[in-house]
Symmetry: D2
Amino acid sequence: MPLTAPLRGVVPPVCTPLDATGEVDTASLSRLVEHLIGGGVHGLFALGSTSEVAYLTDTQRRTALDTVVRTAAGRVPVLAGVIDTTTPRVIDHARVAAEAGADAIVATAPFYTRTHPKEIAGHFRRIRSSVDLPLFAYDLPVSVHTKLSASLVHALAEDGTLAGLKDSSGDEGGLRRLIVEFGGRDGRAEGPAPRFSILTGSELTVDAALLAGADGVVPGIGNVDPAAYVRLYEAARAGDWALAAKEQERLVELFALVDAGPDADMGRSSSALGAFKGALKLLGLIDCGDTAFPQIQLDTRSLALVDQRLRAAGLTPVR
Amino acid sequence: MPLTAPLRGVVPPVCTPLDATGEVDTASLSRLVEHLIGGGVHGLFALGSTSEVAYLTDTQRRTALDTVVRTAAGRVPVLAGVIDTTTPRVIDHARVAAEAGADAIVATAPFYTRTHPKEIAGHFRRIRSSVDLPLFAYDLPVSVHTKLSASLVHALAEDGTLAGLKDSSGDEGGLRRLIVEFGGRDGRAEGPAPRFSILTGSELTVDAALLAGADGVVPGIGNVDPAAYVRLYEAARAGDWALAAKEQERLVELFALVDAGPDADMGRSSSALGAFKGALKLLGLIDCGDTAFPQIQLDTRSLALVDQRLRAAGLTPVR
Amino acid sequence: MPLTAPLRGVVPPVCTPLDATGEVDTASLSRLVEHLIGGGVHGLFALGSTSEVAYLTDTQRRTALDTVVRTAAGRVPVLAGVIDTTTPRVIDHARVAAEAGADAIVATAPFYTRTHPKEIAGHFRRIRSSVDLPLFAYDLPVSVHTKLSASLVHALAEDGTLAGLKDSSGDEGGLRRLIVEFGGRDGRAEGPAPRFSILTGSELTVDAALLAGADGVVPGIGNVDPAAYVRLYEAARAGDWALAAKEQERLVELFALVDAGPDADMGRSSSALGAFKGALKLLGLIDCGDTAFPQIQLDTRSLALVDQRLRAAGLTPVR
Amino acid sequence: MPLTAPLRGVVPPVCTPLDATGEVDTASLSRLVEHLIGGGVHGLFALGSTSEVAYLTDTQRRTALDTVVRTAAGRVPVLAGVIDTTTPRVIDHARVAAEAGADAIVATAPFYTRTHPKEIAGHFRRIRSSVDLPLFAYDLPVSVHTKLSASLVHALAEDGTLAGLKDSSGDEGGLRRLIVEFGGRDGRAEGPAPRFSILTGSELTVDAALLAGADGVVPGIGNVDPAAYVRLYEAARAGDWALAAKEQERLVELFALVDAGPDADMGRSSSALGAFKGALKLLGLIDCGDTAFPQIQLDTRSLALVDQRLRAAGLTPVR
């Protein structure tokens, strides 16, 4: 489904179910994609951070992307993460994504290296010119340790390098300034980059981002309850902000499942990913809730907390 | 004006006008306080970061606080910053604040030292028990290099140590989680800490914070245009979120004056404070726009940018 | 003892013994100063981080400094920390230090605020011109969150603002580059700032710093075993680097007492300060090993570890 | 050349010369390897950060490694970097390294993701068990944003997971504590991990590291002047610390070429790599000094500074 207009709405980063040997479980992944599309989402982001892209070998990445594209079958656009340290390596992934039939690609600034803003600009421009797909910049300082500046994003939007931004920087004030520079919540249609999509990755303040004029959201916990984010989005589109806030509050409560894992024994990232996948397993959507190695797995007690959070949100575990 | 109920509304951190010798200009400060109260604000925060508290000697702090309290004259409550490195030094300031007639005090976690959460809890409890004034925690990691955790704030609210939180952490997702833990936007009245005020210092996303259920805002640029924040707040109270967002957008545009100073020659903090004070001078509210030493002053070209931003926002410089 | 030549040798940051009520125990402090001078140290640094300066009220700071100056009685120079957030507040402390008879003052860059290098340069120049005492820059990014650049230190040395540097940045490569810029280990006598003292605060690599050409060391654990640092220094002066390294290794082993406190219950800084003071009490030098509030105290088990480390280093507890 | 004993001495991270199209210039790389071996180095580290590993595609990595292994031809051991985000991806590289004939592999902790120490331990153990080659841990927080703790390194040394550590953390005090825990400068032969190599990546303080008991150094600027690091190492082995320090000082002066690039237009990392490669070209060792995309290239003025630094160090450019 080619992106002929700016992407809007709910675009979950699709979890990558693994089997007990650590390989991609394509049957579970297909079921998850059906669950998301059934929930009304407007796009799918494969091979993002929540997809554990950093843990997948090139072969596994291809398998996961192929499965998402094939299952989506053009019903919604598929964005593919092309996450790697620098331009030459990203371009290798971008070519694979194009071959696999992705509708757009999503790249971060270089990481592991320290990179000047002029070099980051060159990075995105070279990627864009190497593959004929719309390119989204993925601003994720917690992983990349660089913040994309508003002026850089603006320049890359104006010259057509970027089709959009996925902002997971957590800098909501900066995002607000960016939106205002792009014409504000009303004026963006006539702005300098009329087809530029601004998607927030801050899944706990989506009502706020939409009120500010963002186009959509890429919510990790949208894997678990896509329909709720769709309701939130629709309420916002209808101008019913009290309802949007109410849906957001319910999702904030559900989100607390990410803290299920014990601090002392595993990382916060592993706990969050493990809780998402644990919830998907409890809901009968995937067969095995394991996260990729070397992440430590949630224990029984933590999974019981996940179960509890699901029930409190009205989502009924089936196993 | 004793705080008998949770503080709500617009509570600007009051700039401290200085004369050419670097001393507190009490006449200008009084005029500024009248301007703020005239703009409809609901409280005043003296000796905050925007007040350049870190640059004021103890004598100057006392002069500034006395002036604010005397001018406010009970029309709105006055919160006093008691900013210093650790508990014993903070308590010295807190006693002065009480003597000066402040209605509440505002303290950060210890800084310069590295401090454990249990030590931070002890810090706030000791301050509270030393001075008979409501105590607000000031979460400002950019200065203090510690983030107050939700669980710490929660515990200190429940045991009556804290009357409120001024959250300038920029972590809007964390703030949302905190509000939900405190009962959410509807349920907070019956929550575990019914009289706990949550004020955001994120002045670019106030509509969002109010939508989420925050009680008010402490906006630096509220010195320049207090009435606009009051309009924003009233729109939010009335449930007119589109209007609140529109007021916020205008303030985001105005806020761009903080970038007036040249990157190469002065700090971002000096630029922002210099722009606030430069705007106040241009508007005829204070006599001298200088910031405290060793901050570098805005040059003529930068002040022209400030002038331009004021005019664009419909605020007319008088000099 | 006026500083007529560059300061060299071992200059411990003097711990500030407190009594059970948290007040400065001047008798214990005098005993500690005698212990240090008896150990052969070349100077004393009062009101440094290890002195818990950030926890002392202005009154307590004055008491501690008076006691150190009076006890030293001109036998070795006394450097006084003048630690506060910005220039005006630092100058207040500097005037007190001069009045108290300090031989030099030690100031950090501004903290709590964010400050541009040009502003930091102005800060040190204004301090120097306000008080007629040699000024040392204290580079402590872990507390101040700013690193003094080599070019800044160089400029301030050349124009006579700084008499020396206390480098606690932990950036040994940067320190090496600075020493080379100042003429290297041989050439510094004829260098652009011939009387500039470079003191390292990296107490675990003092042999290395002296080999590189540093003038001396400010070792926290020098409170506990000053004679050992003097032996290390003398071995280095004599060119016996194997002996210097051997002394350093013994001190590295002794230093492990800073980890005595349990991670889960107190800060690393509190643990280190508590271990230093606990050791001083065990050695009979001070009456009470308490650190200042809100630091959590070492428990019995932790103090037993300190005792063990002392004995392993051949230092015999007397209580 | 299998590693039958702990690796000691000078082990430069081999630069990867590129041609004008960005492909690996194998002829230049072979010449560079001959230059290094001719300079007396004790090992070669291919595909490290200085080799621009983060910028090389998998194909280019293989070409570079093959060239180094083939040219070294067993005269010195070849360590191969296997740098990628997480365990499964690292293992893919490790298998290629084994196939290519590397004598050991060098891996960092996971990056891009946030990882718990227990997960990092699992990471190294899984890598070690997947490929039958000695494994070095590469501690590089500036890239990886995780510091390997002493206790983790110790545990992984004791159980045979790690054959050594390349410490580029810049934490010289921590390194000293680690060396002491491993038995100190004299006692390491009988220590718990008798064959554990400790190599420093801090190329400006190698004399200090060797004095402390480190086994060797991995110096980026050793590409330019390998013989000088070998002289430094031999002086240290002979106990002539004054000579070692003198050699180090000369290398510190030469190292200043890394600052050749203008701050405003390129990153510090690009400047350093560009200066190394620019120097190699000026010395006639490689054909083209370009760094990999998207790094910005040194301009003519910057290269003139590099030329100047080389001449000052007595190294004569041939073009």
